[in-house]
């Protein structure tokens, strides 16, 4: 681990006790109330004061261990007593209502595996970057809760309501405006993550889940929903999460565009000549990944990667592609295609479409890794 972060690692010192020469000759410790990682394994988020990134290069499949889920907070993680928690739904409704956590759990429940991703996810600029550093502001969980549509029926949502405001109970009192249509489509009020209570960093005890939509809108520590006939133009949807498109500023980009990243091989890993399985993840906020193409000759030719079943809508999809490396330097790339027919663009295509001031949010360019003669891998900044 990077030493600047290792200082803060909460799992204790990384000195593993020397295991016995022959483990068959020594009885080990028995069962316990909660398991712990092997002392040889130290997956960690890389964190700053406002966010932390999932170690994508350490993952072998698509469910992110809850304690490694990426974070983006605007005023830290609030402590909320689940016994005192209430969700208020009001505004353009027949009956403004409050629901306790226990009441939310009584409604019919639904589980869904989907990704979350910060709309600002993407960092480049130098060669020595890991997948975690480039694209670590995305993670995936199995979420459980109640469909927002169920609650909207319970309060008698006014058919003339077009938007709703979702508000958190953190010290940022985070707010975003969401089209009501998303509630009838697939929005959820979730209280469980990977089978158990949502983790504090992901919104304990209750968050909004908008499958496929930018992370910031999935309001954590949700305390209030107000139905409205127009959007609220909150700071996050005007001053933030908007971006230049030619001579204009585009706002309300909800869906996360299809993208992918190769997580193996990646910096600072090294490969050997012979068979190499190229591995990575692809996802789209608009539905299922249709295919992932991989190029091992710097983009000249592309082959379809194998997708890991089941391929789920709005979900990280693991891809793998077998490649025989001849030992010559090259570049490897992946590009995602989603079920709407959208093909992950190059940075150049994005710049052509949006202008030279391109950047900031909703950037999903194809990323490329350079393979050196000695098998070492470096990110290729554009």
């Amino acid at each position: 681990v990077n030493s600047i972060f290792a200082k803060h690692v909460q799992t204790g010192p990384h000195i593993a006790p020397e295991p016995p020469e022959d483990p068959t000759k020594a009885i080990g410790p028995g069962p316990s109330a909660q398991g712990k990682r092997s002392t040889f394994e130290h997956p960690v988020r890389k964190f700053s004061e406002t966010s932390s990134r999932s170690p994508l290069q350490d993952f072998h499949s698509t469910i992110t261990p809850s304690d490694l889920h990426y974070e983006r907070h605007h005023a830290g993680v609030p402590a909320i007593d689940p016994q005192k928690y209430e969700l208020l739904i009001h505004g353009m409704v027949e009956r403004p209502m409050k629901f306790t956590l226990a009441e939310l759990k009584r409604f019919p429940a639904v589980s869904r595996i989907c990704f979350l991703e910060c709309a600002g996810n993407f960092r480049g600029g130098k060669e020595e970057l890991t997948p975690q550093e480039i694209l670590g502001l995305t993670s995936q969980s199995e979420w459980t809760g109640v469909m927002l549509s169920t609650l909207f029926r319970e309060v008698g949502a006014d058919p003339k309501a077009l938007w709703f405001l979702a508000e958190g109970s953190d010290a940022a009192v985070m707010t975003r405006s969401v089209p009501v249509k998303k509630a009838w489509d697939d929005a959820m009020i979730v209280y469980a993550q990977n089978g158990e209570a949502i983790r504090p960093e992901q919104g304990y005890p209750v968050r909004l889940l908008l499958p496929g939509w930018e992370g910031n809108m999935n309001i954590k520590w949700l305390r209030r929903i107000e139905l409205s006939d127009e959007p609220y133009m909150t700071r996050e949807e005007t001053s933030k999460y908007t971006y230049p498109v030619k001579d204009r500023i585009r706002m309300f980009s909800f869906e996360m565009d299809a993208r992918s990243i190769i997580t193996f091989p990646s910096y600072p890993q090294k490969i050997m000549p012979g068979w190499v399985e190229i591995r990575g993840i692809a996802w789209s906020g608009r539905g299922k990944i249709e295919k992932v193409e991989v190029s091992t000759d710097a983009g000249k030719t592309w082959q379809d990667a194998r997708l890991q079943d089941p391929v789920l809508s709005k979900a990280h999809t693991y891809f793998r592609h077998l490649w025989q490396w001849d030992g010559n330097p090259t570049e490897i790339l992946s590009r995602a295609v989603d079920e709407t027919g959208y093909v992950q663009p190059t940075l150049r295509q994005l710049a052509e479409a949006r202008g030279t001031a391109v950047g900031g949010y909703h950037m999903n360019p194809i990323t490329s890794w350079q393979i050196k003669t000695d098998g070492s891998t470096l990110f290729k900044p554009e």
């Binding site: 019919p108 609220y232 001053s239």
Partner: protein
């Protein structure tokens, strides 16, 4: 992307009401209903002015956000620059050149600033600070009073730049 009314049929097989939860009281709603919309809905009574705002800003905000005299080449502020079209060398997305609605400023400051004491300002203080920041960003005159009537009428310079995303998926890259 422009939302359309949804006359949603209940095709879940669920009853339309489960009877869980309870009616919220007016007082409970009022306590949490702090949002302000561009049309002014949600703005409280009270008012503020630029000069009072400058005093409050200097004591409660400047340490983190600087002022016109702050030399950004020398120090790194804990918060974003709020008066951008002056000494700022880069062109940060700030109130004067990027914020499309003045009501957003009131809403945001009231709900979460000052960062270290969120929710501690009175409504009049928020009106005054908003007035000062709009003035410092050359959007209103020094003598303009801000209240629930005047604030929604202010047209921000960046307003005309904003467009709704109208992409719908499919092959096009935009």
């Amino acid at each position: 992307q422009q939302p359309v009314p949804s006359t949603h049929k209940n095709e879940t097989g669920y009853p339309s009401r489960f009877g869980f939860g309870r009616l919220a009281t007016t007082a409970e709603i009022a306590l949490w209903d702090i949002d302000v919309r561009p049309d002014g809905k949600g703005l409280p009574a009270g008012q503020g002015d630029v000069l009072k705002g400058k005093v409050i800003y200097t004591s409660k905000c400047m340490a983190c956000h600087g002022n016109n005299d702050t030399d950004l080449s020398k120090i790194k502020l804990p918060g974003p620059v709020l008066v951008s079209d002056t000494l700022a060398k880069s062109r940060p997305k700030a109130i004067g050149n990027y914020w499309p609605y003045a009501t957003t400023l009131f809403d945001y400051i009231r709900r979460t600033m000052p960062y270290n004491q969120p929710g501690s300002l009175t409504d009049n203080e928020v009106y005054s600070i908003t007035a000062y920041l709009l003035y410092a960003n050359k959007i209103i005159k020094q003598n303009q009073l801000l209240n629930a009537k005047t604030l929604p009428g202010i047209v921000m310079p960046a307003k005309k730049l904003f467009i709704m995303d109208d992409r719908k998926g499919g092959p096009e890259v935009r």
